[in-house]
């Protein structure tokens, strides 16, 4: 218990963050591929997270990518209309696809 009290006193005097000013989270340019439909991806997929999320998934099927777009709409309430959802899916399958529909 004695030790506890000692620690308490010490701590009370060291109340500061290691970083006293704002922290700066660096911006990273992910090597996302350019191509048809990219505008729609940029407009619809960058609001909540970086392109790192897309790239990290590796090459996947059309169904997989359509599923992700739907997940964003259903679970995370991404405001994406059906027309954009199609364009984005085509783009993702074209550049991050594995040539399989399913």
């Amino acid at each position: 218990m004695k030790k506890m009290i000692l620690i308490t006193v010490l701590l009370a005097s060291s109340l500061f963050a290691q970083v006293k000013e704002n922290i700066e989270v660096p911006y990273v340019a992910f090597p996302i591929k350019m191509g048809k439909g990219f505008d729609a991806v940029q407009a619809n997929c960058l609001m909540c997270h970086s392109f790192g999320y897309i790239i990290n998934q590796g090459r996947q099927s059309r169904q997989f990518w359509r599923g992700k777009v739907d997940k964003m709409i259903k679970h995370f309430k991404a405001p994406i209309d059906e027309k954009s959802a199609k364009i984005v899916t085509d783009y993702l399958f074209e550049h991050y696809g594995n040539n399989k529909e399913k």
Binding site: V25, Y27, P31, G52, N56, G58
Partner: protein, 401 residues
């Protein structure tokens, strides 16, 4: 945050995010993706780590760090759900609120936490439920982590139960909701709130402000986070700002949909036939990771090599770590550390051997806990849609030269 900034301020190119397409057979679980390179970018208070995303920040600890029982703060993995994290918190004005079904609502400052309550410490493993997710085929939902979405630290703070006692729980209190300060970018996106039942919260649960003798790093939840030893880290809310006591469970996305596994004995399902019922992932299963040598390392023939790594479970404690050098046919006991950091901490192991042949050599590690649970082979682990709880026998292949 301005989304456009992504392009304007973009300064550095990310190298480590891409995943090679998996060579593994369909539906056979395999070793997680390994040997991704650390980024050239260092995040605040961190050394360069394996980087998947900047907003929200997702950073993985490289394998070679897992040779010691405590993971250094500047190499400790980072995982947020929402892009909007406060970039400044003033420790002099910060308070944590306790409200809802309590006799007395509280606003406690950091200084009060550190001086008015008993100070306690626990060393505990913090592991994402999706750690090693890249082991699953077909790809499971979420970030494709390797083995480093985890770390172990000594956490210091105050008991949650002391805080709740101080506030005084009303008779019908049943659920405790925890809010962090991370915010969704879009107003309709569900925020990351956790709710835990009172029964899940024992005296080991603490609100920690210190990690390995230092203030929590920002990216690990400065100034205060929840520590729930033995459980996966999805409920270890970071930048904790509010605790609300209720008598009714709220239905929240990150409680009802994310971080759940099939509610059946094998906790498994198939992509074609998903399990009808799910349950929260909660307790960690027994697991080990080899920190040295790493995949592709060159080691010298006829020269002693000390294999080192870490093993842990949900707090039953590690009984043994076994090593195999012949593909899992025979196993030999590794030496364990004295276990003084307690049952929730990494137990480090070491195993010395002398390679006697040139060429490839595979080293496997298997942990067994005190109630006899042991790690299965990777390919024996059945699929689940979220890719949670992978704990396959770890494997590294080196070259004897």
């Amino acid at each position: 945050m301005e989304r456009r900034d992504f392009f304007k301020k973009a300064a550095v190119v990310a190298g480590a995010a891409a995943v090679g397409s998996s060579t593994a057979e369909a539906n056979l679980t395999h070793q997680p993706i390994d040997n991704r390179k650390v980024s050239t970018v260092a995040f605040p208070e961190k050394r360069p780590l394996i980087m998947y995303s900047d907003r929200p920040p997702l950073l993985e600890t490289p394998r070679e760090v897992f040779t010691s029982a405590l993971t250094p703060n500047d190499q400790f993995f980072v995982r947020w759900h929402m892009p909007d994290i406060p970039t400044h918190i003033d420790p002099d004005t910060f308070t944590i609120s306790v409200n809802g079904l309590v006799e007395k609502e509280l606003k406690i400052s950091l200084n009060e936490l550190k001086t008015k309550f008993e100070q306690v410490e626990v060393t505990a493993v913090l592991q994402c439920g999706g750690n090693s997710r890249s082991a699953f085929t077909p790809i499971a939902g979420g970030i494709q982590w390797g083995s480093g979405a985890m770390g172990c630290a000594t956490w210091k703070g105050v008991r949650l139960s002391d805080i709740l006692d101080h506030a005084g729980l009303k008779r019908d209190a049943e659920w405790i909701g925890f809010n962090g300060s991370e915010k969704a970018a879009y107003y309709e996106t569900p925020n990351f709130v956790r709710e835990l039942h009172l029964d899940e919260l024992d005296d080991h649960v603490i609100l920690a402000y210190e990690m390995n003798g230092e203030d929590l790093p920002y990216l690990n939840g400065y100034p205060l986070r929840l520590i729930i030893p033995g459980t996966y880290s999805d409920s270890w809310v970071k930048m904790l700002s509010n605790i609300t006591v209720t008598n009714k469970y709220k239905h929240l996305f990150f409680m009802d949909v994310a971080y759940r596994v099939p509610d059946n004995k094998c906790e498994c399902e198939t992509p074609q036939k998903k399990a009808p019922k799910t349950k929260p992932i909660r307790k960690m299963n027994v697991k080990s990771v080899i920190g040295y040598p790493t995949n592709g390392a060159k080691i010298n023939n006829k020269s002693a090599v000390v294999v080192r790594g870490v093993a842990w479970d949900d707090g039953h404690g590690i009984q043994d770590v076994m090593i195999s050098l012949d593909g899992g046919k025979t196993w030999d006991k590794a030496l364990l550390d004295d276990g003084k950091l307690g049952r929730y901490a990494y137990r480090t192991f070491r195993y010395t051997f002398k390679p006697l042949e040139f060429g490839e050599k595979t080293i496997m590690a298997k942990a067994i806990n005190k109630i006899g649970q042991e790690q299965p082979f990777d390919k024996e682990i059945k699929w689940n849609h979220g890719g949670y709880k992978y704990n396959g026998i770890d494997k590294v292949t080196v070259e004897v030269v």
